[in-house]
Symmetry: C2
Subunit: 204 residues, 2 copies
């Protein structure tokens, strides 16, 4: 099988797996159900992904890769750091509270090995935070914000942006926020950050 044909086929299988996961949850997303949805055989799934955990690790890796690409694209669109945050915030929040991310988070919570959770943490938060820190450094350099520790500044912003919304989505079955909710929350997080970290001109 040619490499790009295989990749295309894998993408089809993985799309089917996402769909079954969102409909039936992790326990209900049997390999057979996924194979049937993808019109593939169990043997192919096991040959290509090793086992159920391997397939779900691939789903997580793909999802965090796509999220990172999407966020990085939003970064290059703006010169002004605050404008960047205005774009970045709703995109990040929308992804984190969307049905696919919620389903993957639930799978990770259910996974006794902890591997899915570690992969989500590594490709998710641990990848996003440094990107965000760069934006905060730019915001400081541009005279918008003042803070001592950039990691704390980014963490504060994430706390305000995400808050306990994600856990309530994943665990507490909160419905997805509307696009208007997301925009409002993102805007308020940014306002709060500007208020809490006023720019201070000069050394010190």
């Amino acid at each position: 099988m040619r490499e790009d044909t295989k990749r295309r086929r894998q993408a089809q299988i993985e799309d089917a797996a996402y769909a079954v996961l969102e409909e039936k949850g992790y326990a209900g997303a049997s390999m057979l159900a996924i194979a049937r949805r993808a019109k593939a055989s169990n043997e192919t799934l096991y040959n290509w992904y090793g086992d159920k955990l391997g397939l779900f690790m691939a789903l997580v890796d793909r999802n965090v890769g796509e999220a990172r690409a999407s966020l990085e694209e939003s970064l290059s669109a703006e010169d002004d750091a605050l404008a960047t945050l205005r774009t970045f915030g709703p995109i990040l929040l929308g992804m984190l509270t969307g049905p696919r991310a919620v389903a993957l988070n639930r799978a990770a919570a259910a996974d006794p090995s902890g591997d899915l959770g570690h992969a989500i943490a590594k490709g998710g938060r641990e990848t996003i935070a440094p990107i965000l820190e760069d934006v905060f450094r730019a915001a400081r350099a541009q005279g918008h914000l003042g803070f001592a520790e950039v990691d704390e500044a980014a963490e504060l912003y994430l706390g305000l942006l995400i808050g306990d919304l994600q856990i309530r989505r994943v665990v507490g079955r909160l419905p997805a926020p509307t696009a208007a909710d997301i925009e409002r929350r993102s805007a308020r997080a940014l306002e709060a950050v500007i208020c809490l970290m006023p720019f201070e001109a000069g050394p010190g």
Copy 2:
């Protein structure tokens, strides 16, 4: 069996269930494993709790009940609303990030029915927020804080206090924060709230 003897026995069974849940996760916490740990029989568990979900619903209900009692106790200890928040914040954050709550949240994330998640939301956040709103009203009445909508004020505080810490504990396998981390985070949440919602004397 006398009522209080039964309650005592149930508490033993539930303690065993919490222990097995924390050690093996939800999927690994079979009814038989719990029965063995509690030196009870499967038949008794099914007679008393109906089924596995029923047992876990009882665990959630007990946990939120104990949490509420603990938080309400912290409320009556202080007259000053900000002092109350100084006490309340670390207690709440410690509970949410503790091993039992994390294990129950993971169980709820894994539960295809959504019932555990709804029970956690109802007995947890939906119970705590009104309590916290009362504290915020008192803080405003005492001249510490100024805000228009009390529900938004409480939500802002929870966002700063909890942030994405809980989801990273439940999903991303973050280790539990230290007591010092919890105190620091709680104090900073309170500082931020005071900064963001300054008291404004007079009508308006």
